[in-house]
C-alpha cells in the first residue's frame, strides 16, 4: 500500500533504465540524503567521530569488495592491504605535490591501489573460491610488510607513521587537526555518494552483467564470449580502486594519522569481508547495512550500555561486546543467510502488500 508501483507508467526507454524507477524509492533516497546532510549538525561530536566518519570511510571499501565478491564471485582477503596502498599513495602524492587539492589526490590514490590490485588479482585466473581467498592473503601480508619496511613510503619519519598534513579547500581546512568534523563528514559523504553512484552504474551496465555471468559460472561466461582475463582483472582493479579511495579517506579524514602496518592489518580485511556477507552479497544497500553492523554496533554496544545504566565498562564491556557480535553474526546468518539486504527486500515486499499478508 505504501510502497506500490501501480500507476507509475514508463513511457520511454530512458525512464525504464533509470536507477530508481519507482517514485517511492526516489522520495526515500531524497529523505535519506537530506538526513545525511543534517545529521552532522545534530549528533554529538562523539557519534560523529567514532561512528559516522568510519562508517562513511569504510563503506566505500565494503562496496569495493562487494563488487569483487558479490558481483564477480571472487573472494578477497586483501582489502585492508589495498586500502593501505591508497592511504600511502595519497600521503606520498600530497607531500610531493602539496599544491594540488587533496580531494583530487584522494581520488587519484585509488588508481595506485587498482594497479596493485590487478597484480595480486592475477592468480584469480587460475585459482577459485576459497583457494583464491587464501591466495589473496599473500597480498595482505606482503603489503603490510612493505608499509613497515619501505621508509620512502612514510617519508623516512623516525616513528614510522604518516601524519596527515593540513590541506584546504576554498581556504577552509579539510584535512589535518584543525579541520572541523562536520566538514570532514561532508567531504566523506560526497565521496560515498559519488562512489556509490559510480558502482551502481558499473554493476547495472554491460560490465556488471559480464561480472555476474562470471560469478554464476565462469566457464559458461567464457563460452558466451566474455573474456575472463579482462572481466576478472577489471573486477580486481575496480574493487581495489574503491578500497584505495576508502583507505585514503580512512586515514586522511577519519584517523588523521596512521602507524605503518598496524591500521591495515588482516583484522580489517576480515571485517570488510564480514560486512559484505552480513550486509548481503551483490547488493549496494547491503554494503551500507553491513558497514553499519561492523562499525556502529560494537561502539553503540560498548558505550551505549553504560549510558542506559548497565554499568559495564572497560575490558569487560569489550569481552561481552565480542561475544554479542559473534552470537549475533551466527544468528543473522541462520535467520537470513543472504544478509541484511534480503531482510530489507522482504520488508519492502511487506509494505507493498500491506495491509494484506500477501
Amino acid at each position: 500500500m505504501f510502497y506500490r508501483e501501480t500507476g507509475q507508467f514508463k513511457t520511454n526507454y530512458t525512464d525504464d533504465m533509470a536507477i530508481f524507477p519507482i517514485r517511492q524509492d526516489r522520495i526515500g533516497i531524497a529523505i535519506i540524503l537530506a538526513i545525511a546532510l543534517i545529521l552532522p549538525f545534530v549528533v554529538s561530536e562523539f557519534v560523529l567521530k567514532t561512528i559516522l566518519l568510519p562508517f562513511l570511510a569504510l563503506s566505500v571499501a565494503v562496496i569495493g569488495l562487494n563488487i569483487l565478491t558479490g558481483y564477480t564471485g571472487l573472494i578477497s582477503l586483501g582489502s585492508a592491504g589495498f586500502m593501505g596502498v591508497g592511504a600511502y599513495a595519497c600521503y606520498k602524492l600530497t607531500t610531493i605535490f602539496p599544491e594540488v587539492n587533496i580531494i583530487i589526490w584522494i581520488f587519484a590514490s585509488g588508481f595506485f591501489a587498482a594497479a596493485v590490485g590487478v597484480f595480486f588479482g592475477l592468480p584469480s585466473l587460475r585459482i577459485k573460491g576459497l583457494y583464491l581467498a587464501v591466495a589473496t592473503l599473500a597480498a595482505q601480508f606482503f603489503l603490510q610488510w612493505a608499509f613497515v619496511r619501505i621508509p620512502w613510503l612514510f617519508n623516512y619519519n623516525p616513528s614510522g607513521a604518516i601524519e596527515v598534513p593540513l590541506r584546504t579547500l576554498f581556504g577552509m581546512p579539510i584535512t589535518g587537526p584543525t579541520a572541523e568534523l562536520e566538514v570532514k563528514y561532508l567531504i566523506c559523504l560526497g565521496f560515498v555518494i559519488g562512489m556509490t553512484w559510480l558502482a551502481s552504474n558499473l554493476v547495472h551496465g554491460r560490465i556488471g552483467r559480464s561480472w555476474m555471468a562470471v560469478r554464476d559460472m565462469d566457464i559458461a561466461a567464457e563460452l558466451m564470449g566474455i573474456k575472463l582475463l579482462n572481466a576478472k582483472l577489471l573486477a580486481f582493479a575496480v574493487s581495489s580502486f574503491f578500497c584505495g579511495v576508502s583507505g585514503a579517506l580512512f586515514v586522511f579524514l577519519y584517523l588523521g594519522g596512521a602507524e605503518a602496518g598496524t591500521e591495515f592489518a588482516i583484522r580489517l580485511s576480515f571485517l570488510i569481508l564480514f560486512a559484505v556477507i552480513i550486509g548481503g552479497t551483490g547488493s549496494m544497500i547491503g554494503s551500507f547495512f553491513g558497514t553499519a553492523f561492523i562499525v556502529a554496533l560494537p561502539t553503540i554496544l560498548k558505550f551505549g550500555a553504560p549510558a542506559i545504566g548497565i554499568a559495564i565498562t572497560g575490558a569487560t564491556a569489550e569481552k561481552i561486546v565480542l561475544m554479542i557480535i559473534g552470537a549475533l553474526t551466527i544468528y543473522l546468518l541462520i535467520v537470513e543467510p543472504h544478509g541484511l539486504a534480503r531482510l530489507w527486500q522482504i520488508m519492502k515486499q511487506k509494505l507493498r502488500v500491506w495491509p494484506f499478508p500477501y
Binding site: K128, Y131, A135, L137, I278, L322, I325, G326, A327
Partner: protein
Amino acid sequence: MSAVTSSALRPLLSPALMATLKGLGILAAIALAIVLLVHSGAMPKGSIGHKVLAAPFIDMWDLPDLLVQTLWEGLVAGVLYALIALGFVLIFKASGVFNFAQGIMVVFSALTLVGSYEIMTQRMGLPPGTVVAILALMIAIATMFVLAWLVERIVLRPLVNQNEIIMLMATVGLTYFLIGFGEYIFGGNPKVMITAQLGLPVGQTQFNILGGRVNIQHLDVAAAVIASIMIAGLAFFFQYTRIGRALRAVADSHKAALSVGISLNQIWVIVWFTAGVVALVTGIMWGARSDVSFALEIIALKALPVLILGGFTSVPGAIVGGLIIGIGEKMGEGYWGPLFGGGIETWLAYVIALGFLLFRPQGLFGEKIIERI
C-alpha cells in the same frame, strides 16, 4: 627404446612421482647453471646475482651445523603447521566448512587446560602435579566435546547446505564469540603451559657434530612423535573403523551418506570433536614453546598457505604441505631474509604456496577440480 622403458615403467611411476623426478631434474640443472656462473666469473661476489643465487648456498656449505639446525627448526614448525592444517582439513572434508575458528580453538582448548589446572591447584587447593594435570586435560577434552556438540546444534544444523562463504562467516562469528568468551572466563593475560606436569619432556640435548653444534629440544622431539602418532591414529581411525568409514562416506557425498542411514549430525559432532582434540594438542605444543595467549590465534593463519598447498581435502596434503612450508619458510628467512632486511616470514609462506598453486590449482593432493557446464 626409451619410449619402451618409460611405458614399461609407467605402472611403477605414478604421475606424481614422475612430476617430482622432473622437478628434481630441473632443480639440478639450475644448480649446475649457478655453479657454472659463479666459477666462470659472470657473477662476481657482491653482485645481486651472487647474493641471491650463490651466497646462501655457500653459507649453508660453510656452516653445516646451522643448516641442520635450520632444517630441524623448519621440520618442527612444519609439524605444528601440519597439525593446525589437519584440524582444518578434517572439518572441511566432512562438513564442507572452512573452519576459520580452528585458530581460536587452539587457544581456547589450551586455555581451558591451563585455566582449569590453575583453578584446581590454586582455588580448590588440590596438590599440583601430574594427577591434576591429567584431570585438567580431561576437562579440556570434555570442553572440546561440548563445544563440538554445541557448534553442531547451534551453527551447523541450521546452516546445512549453505554456500561455503556463509559457513566461513559463521565460523568467523564463532571466532569472535570464543575470543570474548575465553577472555571473559580466563582473563586476557598469557598463561604458562603446564609442560612438566603433563609429563612432557623439557630440556635439550646438544650434539657436537659437523664442526659445530645442533640443539635438539626434547619437547620438539615429543611434538614430532606425538603428532606422528596422532596422524597415524587418525589414519587408522578413518580407514578401519565403522565411524571412519561413515566419515569418508559423508566426505564423498552428504546425500548418498544420508540415504544409507549415516547420521550427518553425529558425524559432524565427531569431526568437530576430533578437530578440537587436534587443536588441543597443537595448543599444548605451541603453548609450551612460548605462551598460551590470544596472540597465538594468529599462528593459525600460518596453516592457510599449508592448506592451499596441500589441498583443502587431503590429510597427507596437510602433512606434506606443512613440512614444505615449515622448512621453506625457515630456510627462506634464514638465508634469503637478510637480503630484504628480514621479517619476510609472514608472506614467504604464501608466495611458496602460490608458486605451487599456479601449477596445480587444486593443491598438491587436492581432488582434481572438474567443471561441467
